[in-house]
């Protein structure tokens, strides 16, 4: 004991000596220290994004709140609170930096919107949308600008510094309908497609007008005077900006589509190409002061059909989810920062100016929409009713783009910049809060048609295509070359030249109907599997009961089948391999299973069809068919087990192949865009038929395994 004690005392003594010496020569080695500056930037950014996401999470946990108040309002309120908090703490609240906004926060939202833009309704209504975007915005700008100038003249006292050009510039900033705000509000109200695309399309396309007018008036205010030559140049500039933006976007879109043709062996970075090319399109357009938004939209629209035909299903899912994620985060950040900047910014409140601005904005929007619709309805087939016009007018929300544009103004040329900022923030708050909150009850009150839930029905698809051809034909008979004629011509051109260039291999020749059908078949297969996998623990799902009823198999046999399936499940689970970060090796076993499964499905479907759809005399054919198909069916049971495994880890099935008529492999790629509609009848039919055959099949399989 004393030995140990002695040893310990020695050690302690040495340590003390050591530390004493150490203190005298140098400072102690820091075990724990803080260096905030090193991580400050990324840390703060991450903290903001985390805050934004947690806010979003919180809103949806409070059910009552998210049903009444649109998310954008809540986020602005949160921003106000956070800004207030920061100010109370004595710090300077951060601003919504314009460069950050235009280069980082805006592009994801616009790309998300452009990539998933419903092209059909858009092209059908493109005339109306352009009218509203261009003529409507011009009308708004000049109405607000001129009348505001008049009011400022009359009111005097502090407003005297507002000359005509400044007023017009203010008009151009405040008149543009904002896509971010519109998206945020309209996403939640689910109105019918037509109105959605009208307001949303307008908000996207008016960017060109806004950009031109903004730069125009800013230049003129700088110079000080306007000549007719300048006006002409302004008009020219508009066309250059708009068409140039679209051209830049198209070029990048084609490049992206062409690149995706060769990504067969590098599936992992496919989404990256999509994002990078689109972002480059945006930046290139902004480089030349062209309309970045239009470039982004054009890029997304052009590249989508070809890229989707080339990339794998998993990449498609990745793109979709990343776009949604980024745009969601961006939107949240924008609204929060809007709130924070309101607290932070220097404000000059002028009652007259602000109230007149709000009234004028509303008035000009209503007049503009009503007047334009009157003209547009003369050319439209499906007229816009009063209710539609009201929603279009009411949906003209202003948002962060207006704020950022105002923020970019230089204070020396525009001494009243603060007043402008205050007024714009008030307008934004008014439109987002008042109009955003009341639009939902108004939509219900006016009984505006809502979006109808589309179920992917193959009959509807067949007949839609049939109708397209029919209408094109009738147009040709009447020699009126309208919408259908030109669309048909574009499709033919697309098919003959463009698709060959941009889509790999023989996917380029695949008709739309066939790919639609494949998607539907796979969707059905996935639905079936989900039911199977979910019903394996219990026996009371409708599918299982139908199975039981029609097959009349006994309990023991059912248990045996289940045991066999379960053991196969375990075997296949061991076969799944992990993949490295750089390659996604297609599991060859997985490929074989899926191929066999698909073949089995086809055979099963065929048998089903011939059972139900042929005249009774043909039904004797079924027994011989059953014998010949027994081979694949046997394996089929093992397949079902393997599929049960793949369903839990992802909704997608990677790289299925289906041998075509001539034996060449063709890749299928299902799409997740159709709503998974569980029609029980369809499922029960798939499982229940043909009753007697399946029973015999299982008997034979039983004998094999026993």
């Amino acid at each position: 004991m004393s030995d140990r004690m002695k040893k310990m005392m020695m050690i302690i003594l040495i340590l003390c000596c050591g530390s004493v010496c150490a203190e005298e020569n140098r400072s102690l080695f820091p075990v724990l220290s803080i260096s905030y500056d090193y991580v400050q930037m990324p840390f703060e950014i991450s903290l903001w994004i985390l805050l934004a996401s947690l806010m979003k999470l919180g809103f949806h946990l409070i059910p009552r709140l998210s049903a009444v108040v649109p998310e954008s309002c809540l986020l602005i309120v949160v921003g106000l609170l956070v800004g207030g908090l920061i100010q109370v703490l004595g710090e300077d609240p951060p601003f919504l930096d314009s460069q950050l906004f235009f280069l980082c926060l805006l592009p994801p939202i616009i790309l998300d919107a452009g990539y998933f833009l419903p092209i059909g309704p858009f092209t059908e209504n493109v005339g109306t949308i352009l009218m509203l975007a261009v003529v409507g915005t011009l009308w708004n700008v000049f109405f607000v600008g001129v009348v505001l100038y008049g009011v400022c003249r009359v009111a005097g006292s502090g407003l005297a510094t507002v000359d005509l050009l400044s007023s017009l510039l203010f008009g151009s900033i405040v008149s543009a309908v904002d896509p971010v705000a519109v998206l945020a509000v309209f996403e939640e109200i689910h109105i019918n497609e037509l109105l959605h695309i009208l307001v949303f399309g307008e908000s996207l396309l008016n960017d060109a007008v806004t950009v031109v007018l903004y730069h125009l008036f800013e230049e003129f205010a700088h110079v000080g005077e306007v000549t007719p030559g300048d006006v002409f140049l302004g008009v020219l500039c508009f066309f250059v900006v708009a068409l140039g933006g679209v051209l830049v976007g198209t070029v990048y879109g084609v490049l992206a589509a062409f690149t995706s043709r060769f990504t067969l062996h590098t599936r992992v970075i496919e989404p990256l190409f999509v994002f990078l090319y689109s972002y480059m399109a945006y930046l290139s357009a902004e480089l030349f002061h062209l309309s970045g938004i239009m470039a982004l939209i054009a890029c997304g629209v052009v590249m989508r059909p070809y890229v989707e035909a080339n990339i794998s299903h998993k990449s498609y899912t990745t793109i979709k989810y990343f776009l949604k994620m980024w745009s969601s985060v961006s939107e949240t950040l924008i609204f929060i920062f809007l709130g924070v900047s309101t607290v932070a910014g220097p404000h000059t409140w002028n009652w007259t100016f602000v109230t007149v601005t709000i009234i004028l904005c509303l008035l000009s929007r209503v007049l503009g929409v009503v007047g334009l619709t009157y003209i547009i309805n003369k050319f439209r087939m499906v007229k816009l009713s009063g209710k539609d016009q009201f929603i279009v007018a009411y949906g003209g929300l202003r948002g962060a783009i207006a704020f950022s544009l105002a923020f970019l103004l230089s204070s020396d040329i525009f001494p009243m910049k603060d007043m402008f900022l205050t007024a714009i923030i008030t307008v934004i708050f008014f439109t987002v809060f008042v109009q955003g909150m009341t639009i939902r009850p108004l939509v219900d009150l006016l009984a505006v048609k809502k979006k109808k839930q589309s179920k992917g029905s193959i009959n509807e698809e067949i007949h839609t295509q049939f109708l397209e051809h029919l209408l094109t034909g009738i147009e040709d008979v009447c020699a009126h070359y309208g919408h259908h004629h030109w669309r048909d011509k574009l499709n033919r051109f697309n098919k003959r030249y463009v698709k060959r260039l941009l889509i790999t291999g023989d996917r380029s020749q695949e008709p739309q109907l066939v790919s639609f059908y494949n998607k539907m078949e796979l969707k059905q297969a996935m639905m079936l599997l989900e039911v199977n996998s979910s019903s394996s623990p219990n026996t009371n799902t409708p599918a299982a009961t139908v199975l039981k009823r029609n097959l009349n198999i006994s309990k023991e046999r059912e248990e045996e089948i289940r045991k066999i399936l379960r053991s196969n499940l375990q075997k296949t689970r061991q076969r799944l391999r992990s993949y490295s970060r750089h390659t996604l090796l297609a599991d060859p076993a997985e490929e074989d299973w899926s191929e066999i499964r698909l073949r089995k499905q086809q055979v099963q479907m065929e048998r089903r069809m011939s059972h139900f759809l042929t005249v009774p005399a043909n039904r004797q054919e079924s027994p011989p068919m059953r014998r010949s198909c027994f081979e694949s069916d046997n394996q089929g049971h093992l397949d079902r087990a393997s599929i049960l495994v793949s369903v839990p880890d992802s909704v997608s099935l990677h790289d299925e192949t289906e041998p075509t008529r001539d034996g060449s492999r063709r890749r299928q790629k299902p799409s997740v865009t159709f709503a998974l509609d569980m029609e029980e009848q369809r499922m029960s039919r798939c499982l229940s038929d043909p009753g007697p055959n399946q029973l015999n099949e299982e008997e034979e399989m039983e004998m094999d395994h026993v």
Binding site: M381, V382, K383, S385, K455, S457, I458, N459, E460, I462, H463, T464, Q465, F466, L467, H469, L470, L471, T472, G473, I474, E475, D476, V477, C478, A479, H480, Y481, G482, H485, D488, R492, K495, Q509, P511, L513, V514, Y517, M520, E521, N550, Q602, M605, E606, R608, M609, H611, F612, L613, T614, V615, P616, R661, Q681, R682, S684, R685, D689, P690, G691
Partner: protein, 217 residues
């Protein structure tokens, strides 16, 4: 020419009232009719060959047949005519008139039925009131044919799946002994309910007399 002009106007007015077109539209369509028939009085199938764009259409045959189908002409007979006059031409084209803005629910329903009946007749080539699997398969093959290769296996699979869908939607749970004969008109209405055909199946008919410049093709 003056006397017959006023007489013609009278005839046009009658036709306009019967089919629902405006006088201007009737006049333009008459000019087109004259152009197609090369100033004869009746239109025959070979006249449609002069329309160059129609050659690209995969369902060209069906469209032309529809013009000569007696079922579409309001008569309760079946069969085909060999040649039609201007009035029949207008009757067929009247199926493609857009919906009037203030139509009642009942009117909309009637128009929808009429348009869908037109479509049904186009599919039901043997006039038995049912679209059988073979007829449906032909339709699908035509649609796939536009891609240069006849994909009969896919056509079969697609049409089978489509028929199955119709069966499941319209007949519900069927016994294993039953089989599905074909799509009747009522079933057809049911499955295409969601298509909103009354707003989709229309083309723009010219009101102004700008047909002259379009005559060159």
């Amino acid at each position: 020419m003056g006397g017959s002009q006023s007489g013609r106007v009278h005839v046009f007015q009658d036709l306009a009232d019967k089919t629902g077109f405006s006088i201007e539209q009737v006049r333009n369509l008459h000019d087109r009719f004259m152009y197609l028939t090369k100033d004869e009085d009746t239109l025959r199938r070979e006249h449609f060959d002069s329309i160059s764009y129609l050659a690209f259409n995969p369902i060209r045959r069906e469209i032309i047949d529809a013009f000569f189908d007696k079922r579409n002409l309001g008569q309760n007979e079946v069969g085909c005519l060999q040649e039609i006059e201007f009035e029949e031409f207008l009757t067929i084209l009247a199926f493609f008139r857009p919906l009037k803005p203030h139509a009642t629910e009942e009117e909309i329903e009637n128009i929808r039925r009429a348009k869908l009946r037109f479509l049904f007749n186009m599919h039901d080539t043997d006039n038995d009131g049912i679209i059988t699997l073979d007829e449906y398969r032909l339709v699908v093959e035509k649609l796939l044919f536009s891609y240069e290769t006849i994909d009969s296996e896919n056509a079969k699979a697609i049409s089978d799946a489509a028929m199955l869908e119709v069966a499941s939607v319209t007949m519900g749970q069927m016994d294993p002994d039953e089989f599905y004969e074909g799509i009747t008109f009522e079933h057809f209405l049911q499955i295409l309910k969601g298509l909103e055909i009354e707003t989709k199946m229309h083309i723009r008919f010219l009101d102004t007399t700008t047909v002259q410049c379009l005559k060159k093709e």
